[in-house]
């Protein structure tokens, strides 16, 4: 242990434990911990593993639902979809490792979330990556974007899981602290659902996969528990390197072990390595585990016991195996070229014992490391002065981002489509294999991703969203809006949302204001899920997302998975036929703060974000599913980033079809055209079906208005009503009387946005 003990400051503090926590450890052990035990506590009591600051709030989330098979507490949430099938999904962060080494950080992030999925007995079928970076014109941001995107692709492409969706957002607050949140979705037969538990004293604990090296000693768990500071090389972990080839073998071997019923329990090794795997599985089963250190296959000589116990070497799994199946298990691993070793035994004394060279080196109650880990009630305080518009990242000078007011709204639309946050994601998605697995019906550049299920008429739909710019004004609203937008994105395909996973990215939990942003977001997440009738099935929390240059926007990343009863009936966002009626469902409400328009144009100082009507969101979700089932929808498109005008432009760009429309504008036309108030979708339908469509919307209590026809090769929006007069211009409302742009020009602006932002014309 000298390795650690040499450090001048008291060992527990060097390991990131406070004096209070040391006392709590003493209480649980009834004695002083030795150095190895202290190291084990340190990693297990990190925020990352113990959720010591967040647990009490996460417990307030709605987690039950008729179809929920496994919820929070397991490696991933699982929801039944009928025919004996179920879907497993989870979102997880790998922010800090990606800031240190973007390629490996992102790659190992993908590897980690995939293991959470197949640990449950599910075959991973999709990856979605939600990425947040600083100003794309900065060299550092560009380096991070390129490294992270290559890392996600390098890993996902190799293991053969399609990356079919995600998010890419640029905001200065992420400059030194990028967010890499990855969501994975898996499909399983319910009967193969496997728990990460270690039942049956006498059962073997088998470690298989890569050998154990010094990877990430003091990595994720310790690194993630200290504000990341680029300059302090001291805090740099020995970087974890991912091996997607090993992961692919691990997937096949694990799924074979499960399908053949050879394991009693299965747990992936992530943060805190062996320590976390054995203590969590033992605690879940109410058993103990004796670990024989000398039996752990090593990649390096001379590793100290604590290094072996907390190493975060990637691509490792831990199986609980009944003695009679041991040979079969070892045979499967050998066939897949995976080293495997019995490294311990399940015991009945409820303790984690670490034995080396015949000596007991550590003996800790499993619960003390996991379910009975310390938890805090942190003080939370609303900011003394709530941030006024313009939104963070928006130009301080209103109007700065756009030509002077009173301009042509067509120019505003082109500016928005050409913005790094709204333009095509093609630069990213062409680096990801979207079609491996031959289930990809729609990959998520346009809306939610759609997967067919072989041998079934059903389809799965997945999306991920966040509303950090809104959350900067109101964390409750930001989280609630993210849930509604994500569910809406799933619903416009005609799918019924099944459940929610999430990844909560926030600052320092010991800072009351930062912690308030967290608690408000959890409240918004819970309120929205209750209102929409969606269970939260899992997620992840990432604190300390701050750097010397400040804290990131409060970012509640949301993931939603939905079910299509008949994948052939799916609805897409692109217009279908010239002559179809274009319809706006929902009502536009004021409030530009947090919008893409505000980021470009600035907002009035007193302006706030738009309001959210959760009951109307719920009605909209139900109506979309019903209308799709009745075949009333030729296309359906969510109104979000860039507002109505951008939503219409996308439906045109993706179909090559123009439209001739009339939009009523009030005293602030920019709100009607570019505002991002929630609860709105644009659908198109055959003229003959309009009456029925209107009727069904009304029956769901939804406002619905015909705004024109799909037609020609230009997007033409004629402005009508009060705001459409010359007077509007004098008021500086920012519009002329019509928007009229060739679809070709819209497409060009949209396509060239990202390459231009990243300095990669062509």
């Amino acid at each position: 242990m000298s390795v650690v003990a040499e450090i001048a400051t008291p060992l527990h503090r060097a390991l990131g434990l406070t004096d209070e926590e040391l006392d709590a450890i003493h209480d649980r052990l009834g004695r002083d911990p030795n150095d190895l035990e202290l190291a084990m506590f340190a990693v297990m009591w990190s925020e990352h593993c113990s959720y010591k600051s967040s647990r009490r709030y996460l417990e307030t989330l709605p987690t039950s639902g008729d179809d929920v098979v496994a919820g929070p507490g397991e490696n991933a949430g699982v929801v039944a979809i009928g025919e004996g099938l179920a879907v497993a999904f989870k979102l997880e962060s790998h922010n800090h490792p990606s800031a240190v080494e973007p390629y490996q950080g992102a790659a190992t992030g993908v590897g980690g979330i995939l293991r959470d999925i197949f640990t449950m007995g599910a075959r991973p079928i999709a990856i979605l990556d939600a990425l947040k970076f600083g100003d794309p014109s900065q060299a550092r941001s560009r380096g991070l974007v390129k490294g992270v995107v290559r890392g996600v692709g390098g890993y996902g492409n190799c293991v053969g899981v399609p990356t079919i969706g995600g998010e890419l957002v640029f905001d200065p607050s992420y400059g030194d602290n990028p967010l890499v949140n990855v969501m994975a979705v898996g499909l399983l037969e319910e009967r193969h659902l496997t728990r990460a538990a270690a039942p049956g004293p006498g059962n073997h604990v088998v470690l298989f996969g890569s050998a154990t090296g010094r990877d990430g000693i003091g990595g994720a768990s310790v690194l993630a528990s200290a504000t990341f500071d680029e300059t302090s090389a001291a805090k740099r972990p020995s970087v974890q390197v991912g091996d997607p080839f090993a992961e692919k073998l691990l997937i096949e071997a694990s799924l074979e072990l499960i399908a053949r019923g050879l394991v009693e329990g299965l747990q992936d090794l992530g943060a805190a390595g062996i320590t976390c795997a054995v203590s969590e599985t033992a605690d879940r089963a109410g058993t103990g585990i004796r670990v024989d250190l000398d039996a752990v296959p090593r990649r390096e000589a001379g590793m100290a016991p604590f290094e072996v116990m907390i190493s975060e070497s990637q691509e490792r799994m831990c199986a609980i195996v009944a003695p009679r199946w041991l040979d079969a298990v070892l045979e499967v691993c050998a066939r897949w070229g995976l080293p495997a070793a019995v490294i311990g035994e399940v015991t009945d004394h409820g303790r984690i014992e670490v034995v080396g060279a015949g000596e007991v080196l550590a003996s800790i109650p499993a619960a003390a490391l996991t379910s009975d880990a310390i938890a805090f009630d942190r003080p939370a305080r609303p900011p003394t002065k709530t941030r006024a518009a313009p939104a963070p990242g928006a130009p301080s000078e209103p109007g700065e981002g756009l030509p002077e007011r009173g301009m042509d709204p067509g120019a505003v639309l082109l500016a928005l489509l050409g913005d790094a946050n709204l333009g095509s994601r093609g630069w990213v998605t062409t680096q990801y294999d979207e079609t491996v697995g031959t289930d990809t019906v729609e990959a998520g550049e346009r809306a939610a991703a759609v997967l067919r299920i072989k041998g079934s008429p059903k389809g799965l739909v997945a999306a991920t969203d966040a509303q950090a710019a809104v959350a900067a004004h109101d964390p409750w609203l930001g989280a609630a809006m993210a849930v509604s937008e994500c569910a809406r994105n799933v619903a416009i395909t005609g799918a019924r949302p099944l459940g929610v996973t999430n990844c909560l990215n926030f600052g320092d939990p010991t800072d009351p204001e930062a912690f308030w942003r967290f608690t408000e977001s959890v409240r918004g997440l819970g309120d929205a899920c209750r209102a929409l009738g969606l269970p939260v099935t899992g997620g992840n929390v990432s604190f300390y997302n701050a750097s010397p240059s400040g804290e990131i926007l409060p970012t509640a990343q949301i993931g939603v998975v939905g079910l299509l009863e008949d994948v052939e009936q799916r609805v897409a966002p692109a217009f279908r036929r010239a002559g179809d009626v274009v319809v706006l469902v929902g009502e536009t409400s004021p409030g530009l703060a947090g919008s893409a328009y505000a980021a470009l144009a600035g907002t009035a100082p007193d302006d706030g974000p738009p309001a959210l009507d959760l009951s109307r969101e719920a009605a909209l979700l139900h109506w979309l599913a019903a209308a799709a089932r009745e075949g009333l929808l030729a296309s359906a498109q969510d109104v979000s980033g860039g507002g109505l005008a951008v939503a219409l432009a996308e439906s045109s760009i993706w179909s090559g079809l123009g439209a001739r429309l009339q939009v009523g504008v009030g005293s602030t036309p920019s709100v009607d055209l570019f505002g991002e108030s929630p609860g709105r979708v644009i659908v198109s339908t055959e003229p003959a079906l309009w009456e029925r469509l209107a009727g069904s919307a009304a029956a769901h209590g939804l406002p619905i208005r015909r705004i024109g026809l799909v037609d020609g090769e230009r997007l033409i929006i004629e402005l009508v009503g009060e705001g459409a007069t010359g007077a509007a211009e004098e008021r500086g409302a920012g519009v002329a009387d019509a928007l009229d742009v060739a679809v070709r020009d819209l497409a060009h602006a949209w396509r060239s946005a990202l390459p231009r932002a990243l300095g990669e014309e062509a």
């Binding site: 080494e101 490996q104 090296g213 010094r214 970087v239 390197v241 991912g242 390096e300």
Partner: protein
Amino acid sequence: MSAHRFVVAVMPKPGILDPQGRAVEQALPHLEVSGVSDVRVGRRVELTVEAPDTMAARAVVERLAGEVFANPIIETWEVAPASLVAAAG
């Protein structure tokens, strides 16, 4: 000014996992070769630098090696004049 050719050898840091080397070792049995161990796979970069003298040229290469050719977080590198290395072959 004169032209100086250099070789930069970039290898995974000791202790850092080298998946390539490991995969090669995994495949060796199929090659009917035995007794091969500790395979590490890295990069080799050759380049020519125009500079007043070797010192100045080498300085440029050292900088490129650390900033462009190698990722200091997971890789080590070594700069050598091309001639010498060739001689070694």
